[in-house]
Symmetry: C2
């Protein structure tokens, strides 16, 4: 069946059922392939005049633009158009407990300029967010862009965040941050959409985007001073009802020791297998260690005690991941965070227990791998979080109507 | 910005970005509200002639039809059209280990006729599926429909199923079923689309559809002879990479006893807290019990030993659910299955541990409730699984083109 009659205007995108606007057209371009207007008419089924109007709007916004000319059969060759990721930039911040990374990326998530600094999260939101703002302005200029080229800010923070409002919720290591309006801070100063999430969700997004976009169900585990995870399901972060999903650190370890955790419960994974827990154990054994990095240094230096403890931490993490595998059935587990730099011992311990303990059906095609993105995962993920949001069809349609991405 | 130019034909729905076909129009009607053609033009932004063509196709398929006349300002009143759930029927089966339930529903998931029978899953696929076919034909007639009114079959089975192919995968209590082509069986005999999933996913869908459609993240737990769960995330079943998600039964219970499980591991939840495990323990205590129903009978009869063991099973299930809450952050946990009929003791034990053990942020708004759908959850869920699939825009568009729902 083929419909040949007219369609009189852009369809209500709020209905959710119908999508024919500029935003939907931009999605066609996001595969990166250049197209002529005539090809778009064939590919989308939209009328030539409709394509012209929508393309003109996208060109005016600089989201798509001309590339090399197509081969023509004569006369002026038709213009080839393509998604133009360099049109605008995103400011992306990965804020840890004691250091911060900041990058400016294009609309394809490529880092153009970046910086890092030692920065204590406990210095409070005004200090930390001002650092992002000040350095962000410099990085945008360094990348050769104007302030008005910025379309969004993405921030990963080392604690629980209510994603819808962007406010931290009772973050244990972040005095002064509880309920702070991070979105409002940047909207007021930079005038752009700002999205905030916890650092592990953002790292999971970055890792998925950079190296594992073929994995439908990915579980990213960060093992550092603390332990946390981010779940990617069908390409999207699973945040759960209040954004608390993925908290591995305070799950009780089956067969684990009854150690008291800072959360008030006993036997939590974080109290047994985190970098902080191993450092404390090594220090008690007489080999002083102040955190994950010291543990990594001792393990790489060949300390049998450090290697043994890292391996056991891998097994303890594996006990909890075995439950996560039965529940969530991921196709890929990625182990990241500073403790994963201690060599193969951590991941070997994880594999040992997960493959022994999880259901055969769930592990048959399960891969357990080391993080590949390393220290840039958080910045890339914070950028991708913003890009995915702003380039959604409904957002782009609003943008075309209002002339600028809507600030929430 | 408003586009006023023509749109020349139905847009390629395979692109995923654009949806303007009959399927998208049907979604507009699924809220149940009747509309005139003129209202559809206003609501959707489609041209009048486009609406007429798409509506005619939907009326021809009987998916929408006329209802009461609208108030008119004079002359012949315009026809009010509405989604017509009675147009076609779905055959929905909930197959347990030792009994089967079967229903015929309309396209709104309402059960029109149903039946149940004692049926041993170990009798094999030919016997069990023939029971569905034979009784299905009778039920369709009993409901006043013709065989050609059937548009799909949904089946829940008591074991792991690869949802994409509809084949059971190494199901432990289902001899002869491993890899059996359930879809092919019904497609050959009844000529319609068939979807298969494990019984707990199907029950979770039914429970969510019937009573908790406002819950974005629901975890349904079935406690019977075995223990399993189904996760509903943003209205959809989370099946994971190979359809194995939600297997609570073989997660090791933190602080649990080291009992050998039939899966070969020790300390699994199912080996400690299932109806079968409690029945075995009661029998060993001298109070003979052959399964969940006997446990329920003893508990309801006031046996202190039975009540104590059901309560402890609730706590053990709570230990595992506490991990699931930290990982998945549901807004609602629904406890179903035959053992949940033992009164408030099971759910009281679950609540006791989950609220003590899970993160405060994750439990702040968490509700833990008893199943409301009871024994019909599986049939309703199997029907909803089929309806949700067949009424997807791309499926409806194919249907309008080919005249009948596509058999995969």
């Amino acid at each position: 069946m083929c419909f040949t009659d007219g369609m009189d205007r852009s369809v209500d995108s709020s209905n959710g059922s119908m999508r024919t606007g500029s935003g939907a057209l931009l999605q066609v371009f996001r595969d990166g392939r250049p197209r002529t207007r005539a090809e778009l008419v064939t590919e989308t089924g939209l009328a030539r005049s409709t394509v012209t109007q929508r393309v003109d709007a996208l060109v005016a916004s600089r989201l798509i633009g001309p590339v090399d000319k197509a081969v023509s059969t004569g006369g002026r060759p038709p213009a080839l158009l393509a998604f133009h990721p360099a049109a605008r930039v995103v400011l992306a911040a990965d804020i840890g407990a004691t250091h911060a990374r900041l990058g400016v990326t294009d609309l394809a998530g490529q880092i153009l300029t970046d910086t890092r600094d030692d920065l204590d999260i406990a210095a409070g939101p005004e200090t930390v967010l001002s650092w992002i703002e000040d350095n962000g302005r410099k990085l945008i200029a360094d990348a050769g862009y104007q302030p008005e080229d910025l379309i969004g800010v993405g921030v990963g923070l080392p604690g629980p965040v209510e994603h819808s409002s962007g406010r931290p919720v009772n973050p244990p290591i972040m005095p002064g941050w509880d309920g702070f309006d991070v979105q409002g801070f940047f909207t007021e100063r930079l005038g752009v959409v700002t999205l905030v999430d916890n650092d592990v969700n953002v790292m999971a997004l970055g890792e998925h985007f950079s190296h594992w976009s073929d994995a439908d169900h990915l579980l990213f585990v960060k093992v550092a001073t603390g332990i946390g995870s981010g779940l990617i399901s069908e390409g999207r972060v699973h945040r759960g009802a209040v954004g608390a999903a993925g908290d591995l650190g305070h799950i009780a370890v089956p067969h684990g020791a009854e150690v008291m955790c800072r959360c008030g419960n006993t036997g939590c994974l974080e109290a047994i297998a985190s970098g902080a827990a191993i450092a404390a154990a090594l220090t008690a054994d007489g080999a002083e260690a102040h955190g994950s990095l010291d543990v990594v240094a001792q393990a790489r230096g060949g300390s049998v005690d450090a290697l043994r403890r890292v391996r056991q931490a891998g097994r303890d993490i594996g006990e909890v991941l075995a439950s996560a595998v039965n529940l969530f059935n991921p196709s890929l587990i990625v182990i990241g965070g500073s403790l994963s730099q201690a060599g193969e011992h951590l991941i070997a311990g994880v594999r040992e227990v997960v493959y022994q303990r999880s259901l055969p059906l769930a592990t048959e095609h399960l891969r357990i791998v080391q993080s590949r993105t390393g220290e840039s995962a958080g910045v890339v993920g914070a950028s991708v979080m913003v890009i995915d949001h702003l380039l959604e069809p409904s957002q782009v349609d609003a943008w075309m109507t209002e002339g600028t991405p809507a600030v929430e």
